[in-house]
Structures are given as structure tokens and as C-alpha cells.
């Protein structure tokens, strides 16, 4: 229903009575530190989708501050949005915000992160446990390729305060634990990185390496953490020999893959996620019943089924870096700088 014909600009007053009836949509993103996506990709794709539909949107970022998060929600509610879409910082504040919105008669969407017991009307995301699984499988593959005997694997987990980090760990541990158990791999040091802080990740990994010189593989929860580990490996001239994982398909991560320093990253097609979410929101803003949320997600806390759009994350290695570029997520110019021109050609990026 809300497909192709909405792509015009909302210029004339009566041009699309459809649009003028549409309320405003408010979107709250969590921070700019856990991943670059919240500062760059998501706002860009979301904005584009709403602009295309001619629906008013306000996107704000809570800068990792849950007080801010609530304040932004208050502001959006009092400025009269008709749909509120959030990426929670934690389920608690997320829930408080969702409840306040519902009391004011506003439709709600959980974007990327499910608010436990939040009771949002819809949920759009990638399967985060799946992300972790892909990371685990990627690492296993790279280590097998290197033919290491009983390699020691270090784990650099995400922020202890980020629920997604917990889900990622669930995913990769579900792959790695059996390997530890059967003795193919050896469990090495395992630490959380507060705030996903890359600098701290560097020190943490350096110390892991100092105390356990046999580390042969690093499960880093995202590209930033991965790059921190790679810097330390480089310093010890071990880069390339110790596979490192990542997530988010950042330019940095893709380049590290092309350079052979990083084993894989997980590409979450953020544009698709953003499009799916905006489609839902636009329908709600126009007081229509969305039809795209075909799946459901069971809220593990409340036990309720939330109507959902769940997208599949994709594992990226040197072979399919080109897919990310083809998808328009990153540009060739950004990835294939002078240093990487050769590697790009080798990887079939033209």
C-alpha cells in the first residue's frame, strides 16, 4: 500500500492529501560510540526513506545517555509525534519511554534492539544471535584455514551494558563452546570492553597477548574492537597470522579484511533495515495498518509475540567485500584508496 507511489516530493498543498494527513515520526538512536552506524548510516538511510515518502521525521541521538534518551522522548511526545521509533540504550528506559508514548496514544516501533517487556507495536532488526553465530563460524573457518593445532582463542566482548553485546556473545559462544569442549580450540582470555571503547580494547588485548602469548584467534565483537586488536598484533608483527573478527562492515573493517589482517566482518544491510522500519512507520503515521511485519519475535521476558521484520545478517570475507559495495552501503572510493587499490582489484572490486 505504501510502496512506489509515495516517492514524490511533498510539495503542493493538496498534491497528496494522503501525506498531509500523515503525522510526524520521531526516532531516537542510542549513541555514537558503540558503532559508527548510529552516527552515519542509520540517520542517512532513515532520513532518505522518510523524505522519499514525504513524511516528516525527527531523528535524534541520545549520545549514550539514558537521561537524554528520556528527555528526547519527552520532547518528541510534547511536540506531537504520531509514531515513535527507538533503539533503546537499555530495556528499562526503553520501556519507560514506550509506556509514556502509549499513554499519549502514540504508535511505537523497536528498531534494531528489542525492548524487553516494552510492548512496542512492532520490531525491526537483524537477528543478533545470528550475528554472533556468523562471527563464531567465520573465526572457525579462518583458524581451520591456518591449520593451527588447538589454537588459543581470545574473546573481546562488547560493552557489558549493551544487551546486543550479550546476544552477540550468546551467538559466538554457541559456536565456540563446543569447539573448546572437544579440544579443537583452547579457551583463552575473555574480557568485556566498557563502552565499546577502542582505546581500552587496545590495552585489554595487549595484556591478553602479554599473558598468553599463544593466542591464535581473536573473536572481536565489532570492527572497532577488531581494529584495536589488529593494531596490537601489528606492533608485535603478528597481524595476518592471528585471525580477527568484526561486525558492521565499516570501511576500516573492510580495509583490514582486504589487507588480510581481519578474517571477516558481519554486514548488516542497514539500508534494508532502515527501509523496513520506515515503511512500518510511514504506514502507522498515515493511520494505516502495516502489512510488512510478517514475522514475530517472542519477548523472552513478557512472553508476548511482537510483530516483527527480521533481516538476515551476512558474513563478509575477502571474497565478498564487493557485495557490500554493490549494495551501496560503502563506496568504492572510500574503501579502495591508494593503499588498497591492488587488494581491491584482487578482490574483484571494479
Amino acid at each position: 500500500a505504501c510502496g512506489g507511489d509515495d516517492s514524490g516530493t511533498p510539495s503542493g498543498s493538496g498534491a497528496s492529501g494522503d501525506n498531509s494527513a500523515a503525522g510526524k515520526v520521531g526516532i531516537i538512536l542510542p549513541d555514537t560510540k558503540s558503532s559508527q552506524r548510529w552516527g552515519t548510516d542509520d540517520p542517512k538511510f532513515l532520513k532518505a526513506a522518510f523524505d522519499a515518502a514525504g513524511v516528516q521525521v525527527e531523528i535524534q541521538n541520545a549520545q549514550g545517555d539514558k537521561t537524554q534518551f528520556q528527555t528526547i522522548a519527552d520532547g518528541m511526545i510534547s511536540s506531537g509525534v504520531s509514531v515513535l521509533m527507538i533503539v533503546n540504550l537499555d530495556s528499562g528506559t526503553g520501556k519507560a519511554v514506550l509506556e509514556k508514548a502509549k499513554k499519549a496514544g502514540i504508535a511505537t516501533i523497536d528498531y534494531d534492539r528489542l525492548t524487553l517487556s516494552g510492548g512496542a507495536d512492532y520490531y525491526v532488526s537483524f537477528d543478533n544471535v545470528k550475528v554472533g553465530q556468523l562471527q563464531g563460524e567465520g573465526l572457525v573457518k579462518c583458524l581451520e584455514d591456518k591449520k593451527y593445532q588447538k589454537p588459543v582463542v581470545a574473546e573481546l566482548n562488547g560493552s557489558p551494558t549493551d544487551n546486543n553485546a550479550t546476544l552477540f556473545a550468546q551467538g559466538y559462544d554457541s559456536v565456540l563452546d563446543p569447539k573448546y569442549a572437544d579440544g579443537t580450540f583452547q579457551k583463552g582470555p575473555n574480557q568485556d570492553v566498557p563502552d565499546w571503547d577502542n582505546a581500552q580494547a587496545g590495552t585489554i588485548f595487549e595484556q591478553m597477548l602479554t599473558s598468553n602469548k599463544n593466542i591464535k584467534g581473536v573473536l572481536a565483537a565489532n570492527d572497532g574492537l577488531g581494529n584495536a586488536a589488529i593494531s596490537v598484533l601489528k606492533k608485535n608483527k603478528l597481524n595476518g597470522q592471528v585471525p580477527v573478527t568484526g561486525q558492521d562492515a565499516t570501511v576500516q573493517g573492510l580495509q583490514n579484511i582486504l589487507a588480510g589482517d581481519q578474517c571477516m566482518t558481519v554486514y548488516k544491510a542497514i539500508k534494508k533495515e532502515a527501509d523496513a522500519a520506515s515503511e512500518l512507520a510511514i504506514a502507522l503515521a498515515k493511520k494505516q495498518k502495516p502489512t510488512t511485519a510478517t514475522g514475530t519475535t517472542k519477548d523472552p521476558e513478557s512472553g508476548k509475540d511482537v510483530p516483527s521484520v527480521l533481516l538476515d545478517p551476512q558474513s563478509i570475507t575477502k571474497e565478498n567485500v564487493k557485495d557490500v559495495i554493490a549494495d551501496g552501503f560503502v563506496t568504492k572510493d572510500a574503501v579502495c584508496t591508494a593503499d588498497f587499490a591492488k587488494a581491491c582489484t584482487e578482490a574483484g572490486i571494479s
Binding site: I59, Q60, D65, T71, D74, P160
Partner: protein, 418 residues
């Protein structure tokens, strides 16, 4: 100037001020740079106007009410910090202390099924114990408070993580508790409390006048006293009137009016601590130790005990701040009390006019400074800038608010007043 001359018991000639001479003197003091909280209030008005012009929702009743809930945590923590700052000390751990106390209350309510009237006291006691330990380390071992509270800042972050079992968050579902920093008083109660406040203030003012007059001491002119009482009355009653309007987005679904419950709580502590600082010998001693520790010691003031006590008050108020934060979010997570909470709280105190070097400050500073910070935060989120720009503009606006203050005070330096 026409003045009446009376005589005090000391046999020294004194001049009884008239309303005119009083205002003249006040004006001369202001011109001479003795400004009190005036510049911060000025800054607040300027900010509000800017935001009000930029976004009309800023002046809506709903937004006005939200401001109180939004600022509560920072205001409570800042009130406690005023005591710590008055001694020239710092408490970097106040933010996470509020988180820890908030976690305690949430755990007791949710995981252990306690009721609010048992859970809240335990959280407050936790705050007191924390403050005692910090104060003890500073006063008795002589470790600089920056270091002690930096260590506590780290440790409490860990305690919070451990309490929350490594990163989950805990929701509170206790109706009363969640209402504290979310719901409103009934309209009747709102008016009742406002009127009570005005009457109480008037009583105190008149009583004071009477007791000075009885001793033959100079009193403020009656006109000025009436002006003060009238001023407060207008302020409180107008605010109450606004807050008692319907402000629900969708009044059909649920009605929203009345003064937020947190307002009288803020008012209570404002009056309490203002009384303690201004009217008790304990408060006097806090100022003395902050102004000149050696002089205080020579005057026989138990400096160490005072030092410990301010940390206790600081952490106690942090506990209340934490309770309010948890109530507002109906949940606690490992970042409760983290982020910018601490810097904002110290900033609130400083912007309100409290000195980091001790000896200068009032509890009202926390409220006014907290309001400045909350207005900036609130207004900025209404503007809807993107992340980077928002940080930058917030910083700049904070600077503008502070410059109003600084420029006003520059005259002070020029005329030799401090």
C-alpha cells in the same frame, strides 16, 4: 536620602533604612557587582526566550512539567554536592553512588518484593554509609578527595555491574515508587501546597522582623518584606496555575494535570538544606571550614567531623537523585548515574554560583544551576539537531549562559568586590 536614625544597645548610631534607601543600596550593590543568583536567573530567562522563539512547544505546559522530572536527578545530586564543594572538596563518585543506591532500591522492590517504604530507607542508608566511608578516607587518612572519589567512581561502576548481575537491567513495577518522578499531585493538593509555602514564608519573614525589632536592631523596611512575600506568591501561584491546566496530548485517553510530585520533594530539601546552612551552627561551621580551615580549627570546630558530614550529605542526596532517576526510568541499568550526570551536577552547582574552592555557595544554586542545565538539555532536544551539531551547540549555549554571569560579575572585580 531621607533616613531615620535610631540607636542600638551598643551605643552606636545606626540608620534605619527606608524602602527607597533599601532599594538604592541594593541597586548600588548590584552595580558594584554583588549579584548573587541574579546572573544565573538572567541566563535562565535568556535561554528560555531563545528556545521559546525557536520552538513553540518549549513553552507548553507539558514541556514545563517535563522539565522538573528531567532535572530532578541532577538537582538532587547537585544539592548534596554543594555541601562537598563548600568545603573545597569534590565528589566524583556522586553519579555512580546514585546509581548504586538506585540499584539497591530496584533490587529490593523487584527481586525481593519489598515495598517502597522499606526499600527506599535501605537505599538512603546505603547512601549515608557510602558518604561516611568517603568522608572518613578524606578526613582521617588525608587522601585528596579527588583521588578517593575517583577510586570510588571506578569501584561503584563495578558494584553497579555486579549488583545488576553483569549488565542486565531491572525494571521497577511498584506503582508508588514509579509515580515519584513521573506522576503529578492532584489539582487540590497542588494548590494547597503552593498556598502553604507562601504562608510559611510570610510567617518566617514576619517572625524574623519582630525578633530583631524587639532587640532594637535595624530591620528591613516593611515594604521590602511585603514585596518579597508578594514576589514569591506570584511566582508560585502562576506556576501552579500553569501546571494545573490540562496538558495531555490526547486528553481523551488520559488526563494529565497538577504539579509533578517531585516538585514538593525538591522544595522540601531546598528549604531543609537552606535552613541547615543558614540557620544552624552546623551550617555556619561548614562555611567556616570551607573559608579558612585553619581559622575554623582554631575556633575549636571539629573539622574532621564536618568534613565527613558533608560527604554523608552528598551521598545521601545522591541516593535520592538515584531513586528519582530509577523512578523516572522505571528501571535501573549499569549506566544509571553514569554519562554526564556527574559533570552536569557539578556544573549545576558551579553555574548557580558555588565556588570550587570552598566557602561560597547556597543550596538554591543547585536548583537554579540545575534548571539552566535542564533547560539547555530540554531545549536542545526540541531543536532536533544531529549528534555532532547538538554537542557543539549545547556546549556553546552553556558557554553563553555562563558568559551572561561572568560579564555581569566583571564589574565586581572592577570595583574591588569579590
Amino acid at each position: 536620602m531621607t533616613t531615620t536614625t535610631t540607636t542600638t544597645a551598643g551605643g552606636v548610631k545606626v540608620v534605619k533604612p527606608t524602602v527607597a534607601s533599601y532599594i538604592n543600596d541594593y541597586w548600588a550593590r548590584v552595580r558594584g557587582g554583588d549579584l548573587g543568583t541574579l546572573p544565573a536567573i538572567l541566563g535562565l530567562i535568556v535561554l528560555s526566550l531563545i528556545f521559546g522563539i525557536a520552538r513553540d512547544t518549549f513553552f507548553s505546559g507539558l514541556n514545563f512539567a517535563n522539565l522538573f522530572n528531567q532535572s530532578a536527578q541532577v538537582v538532587f545530586i547537585a544539592m548534596g554536592l554543594i555541601f562537598v564543594l563548600l568545603l573545597g572538596e569534590i565528589d566524583l563518585s556522586a553519579g555512580f553512588a546514585s546509581g548504586v543506591c538506585g540499584a539497591v532500591v530496584a533490587i529490593l522492590l523487584t527481586n525481593h518484593g519489598w515495598d517502597w517504604y522499606t526499600a527506599i530507607p535501605v537505599a538512603l542508608v546505603t547512601g549515608i554509609v557510602i558518604g561516611f566511608v568517603l568522608g572518613f578516607l578524606v578526613a582521617k587518612l588525608g587522601i585528596p578527595s579527588f583521588v578517593v572519589t575517583l577510586a570510588a567512581f571506578l569501584a561503584f561502576q563495578g558494584v553497579l555491574l555486579v549488583l545488576l548481575g553483569g549488565g542486565t537491567n531491572i525494571s521497577t513495577r511498584n506503582e508508588f515508587f514509579n509515580a515519584l518522578n513521573n506522576n503529578n499531585l492532584s489539582v487540590t493538593w497542588s494548590w494547597l501546597l503552593a498556598i502553604l509555602a507562601v504562608v510559611g514564608y510570610a510567617a518566617v519573614q514576619f517572625n524574623q522582623m519582630r525578633s530583631r525589632a524587639k532587640r532594637g536592631l535595624v530591620t528591613d523596611p516593611l515594604g521590602i518584606v511585603l514585596l518579597r512575600i508578594g514576589g514569591l506568591a506570584v511566582l508560585l501561584l502562576v506556576a501552579t496555575a500553569i501546571l494545573c491546566q490540562e496538558r495531555a496530548i490526547n486528553p481523551a485517553i488520559n488526563s494529565l494535570k497538577g504539579v509533578p510530585i517531585v516538585v514538593p520533594i525538591i522544595g522540601f530539601f531546598l528549604v531543609l538544606w537552606t535552613f541547615v546552612l543558614g540557620r544552624t551552627s552546623y551550617g555556619r561551621h561548614v562555611y567556616a571550614v570551607g573559608g579558612n580551615t585553619e581559622a575554623a580549627r582554631r575556633a575549636g570546630i571539629p573539622v574532621d567531623r564536618i568534613r565527613i558530614s558533608v560527604f554523608v550529605i552528598g551521598s545521601f542526596m545522591a541516593a535520592i537523585g538515584g531513586i528519582m532517576a530509577v523512578s523516572r526510568a522505571s528501571s535501573v541499568d549499569p549506566n544509571t548515574g553514569g554519562s554526564n550526570i556527574l559533570l552536569y551536577s557539578v556544573g549545576a552547582a558551579v553555574i548557580g554560583g558555588t565556588s570550587l574552592f570552598g566557602g561560597k555557595g547556597k543550596v538554591i544554586n543547585a536548583v537554579i544551576g540545575g534548571a539552566v542545565i535542564a533547560v539547555i538539555d530540554n531545549g536542545m532536544t526540541l531543536m532536533g539537531f544531529n549528534s555532532g551539531t547538538k554537542f557543539i551547540v549545547t556546549g556553546l549555549i552553556l558557554l553563553v549562559a555562563a558568559s551572561v554571569d561572568a560579564l555581569a560579575r566583571r564589574r565586581a572585580a572592577a570595583t574591588g568586590n569579590r
